[in-house]
């Protein structure tokens, strides 16, 4: 990893977190669909990052989100788990894409495969978040609804961002 790429990561993580805490934490559709769009940063991290680095990144991003959202540990647990699962899931759905560098995006992956890759990870993350959030309130069926709708909502936001930020649409 060159210094330049590290710098880009830092910039993008900063933008993701600021957008999430300042704007998207307040964007809730009828108290059911939440948008945890910062997860996109973690999910689309490049292939060639070591698993240790992934875990630490996930932990730190979750920590920052928790501190700003006043939901101590919930996002930390969700993000760390997500980062633990990511390499396996990536191997299973996207296969070996060693020639690609940089963030996973529609530049290199078709939207269907991106969806297959992204949605389950979002579901995992959101289930953990909503489950931990609702401990003590008793298990309610609307958690499942929340998880589903939030995952779809987040995915839409991520796709929109991708459409804006990636210029070429060459797909494989």
């Amino acid at each position: 990893m060159t210094q330049k790429t590290v710098f880009t990561y830092l910039i993008s993580i900063f933008i993701y977190i600021v957008l999430q805490t300042a704007l998207l934490n307040k964007m809730v559709i009828s108290n059911i669909a939440f948008c945890f769009f910062y997860v996109g940063f973690l999910i689309y991290l490049p292939f060639n990052i070591s698993r240790i680095a992934l875990l630490i990144l996930g932990f730190l991003v979750g920590l920052v989100i928790d501190i700003f959202g006043d939901t101590i540990s919930i996002h930390m647990i969700a993000c760390t788990t997500l980062m633990f699962v990511k390499p396996f899931w990536q191997q299973a759905t996207l296969g070996d894409m060693g020639e690609l560098t940089g963030f996973i995006s529609m530049k290199g992956v078709s939207i269907i495969r991106l969806m297959v890759y992204t949605i389950p990870l979002l579901l995992l993350h959101h289930s953990i978040v909503f489950f931990l959030d609702s401990i003590g309130a008793g298990f309610q069926l609307d958690i499942i609804l929340r998880v589903m709708l939030s995952a779809i909502f987040t995915f839409f936001v991520l796709v929109i961002i991708q459409l804006f930020s990636t210029k070429t649409t060459k797909r494989i």
Binding site: R51, I52, L55, I56, G58, F59, G62, I72, S73, I74, M76, I77, T80, T81, M83, F84, L132, I135, G136
Partner: protein, 274 residues
């Protein structure tokens, strides 16, 4: 050994994952009251019991802090109460002005105390830095304690009620008869109530409170309770023993009463006496 190290190295990502997870769950349990409770209930009884014991022990270390907090809160409540008692007398006239916020209460701890002498003094841990001035009244949780005599920066000395020169303008709650309470030495729980005329009906157990006629104490602070009533045929006043409400040998927490209008009253009295 090498095999073990290789094993640890091989699964380093998983181990880090577990470590991070443990850290976050620890934070979760530690920072969230709700999770803390459910964590306790899911733990077995021994763990819960041990936690309870630890918590109970920890409580003692914060006692002084808690005490101080309670003292401040008490002072606030007392201030409200004195101002309320004071103002309730005026309320029937519909007066609403600075008189209603006349007294300020400052909590102070007793640093040194004596009861054995003829003229006893109390050292308090508040001084001119805290707004204490000479002549302010000192009251305790149960009743009157004394009056501030000397003030330094951080400390002040109060003459306790157990001082033969101290006279407190008193009043019997039964019919608002005015008298003067004075300690004459001897038993530290007994003082004399003087100048109560013989025609006044009296009974043992009557409450003696401050009259509020001088600006040292607010009206209605308990001084003590009538214990013995002696009648001397040659005198026109009763000889009354008052059991003091404050136990002077164990007084530890006091409140200093600041009368915000004292200078005004004093200057008025000086003018009228000239």
């Amino acid at each position: 050994m090498r095999g073990l190290l290789r094993f640890i190295y091989k699964y380093r990502a998983f181990e880090l994952f577990i470590l991070l997870l443990v850290i976050s769950i620890w934070l979760l349990v530690r920072n969230n009251r709700y999770y803390n409770v459910s964590y306790l209930s899911t733990s077995n009884a021994i763990v819960a019991n041990a936690n309870q014991k630890i918590f109970n022990t920890e409580k003692y270390f914060s006692l002084s802090e808690v005490n101080e907090m309670l003292a401040i809160e008490n002072a606030l409540l007392r201030e409200q109460l004195t101002n309320y008692l004071y103002s309730s007398g005026y309320s029937k006239f519909g007066i609403n002005d600075s008189l209603l916020d006349r007294y300020e209460i400052i909590p102070a701890m007793v640093e040194r105390n004596s009861t054995a002498k003829k003229n006893n003094l109390i050292l308090l841990d508040k001084g001119s830095n805290h707004g204490i001035e000479r002549g302010m009244g000192v009251i305790g949780p149960n009743g009157v304690v004394g009056q501030v005599k000397f003030v330094s920066k951080n400390f002040s000395t109060a003459v306790s009620l157990l001082h033969t020169d101290v006279r407190v303008s008193s009043m019997l709650t039964r019919d608002n008869t005015i008298g003067t309470t004075q300690w004459e030495g001897g038993d530290i729980s007994l003082a004399k109530l003087k100048y109560v005329p013989r025609h006044v009906p009296l009974a043992e157990g009557d409450t003696v409170v401050t009259s509020g006629y001088n600006s040292v104490f607010p009206k209605g602070i308990t001084i003590g309770y009538v214990k013995n009533i002696n009648v001397n045929i040659n005198e026109s006043f009763y000889d009354i023993d008052v059991e003091l409400a404050t136990s002077f040998h164990k007084v530890s927490m006091t409140y200093i009463v600041k009368d915000r209008l004292q200078t005004e009253i004093d200057s008025l009295i000086t003018i009228s006496e000239e």
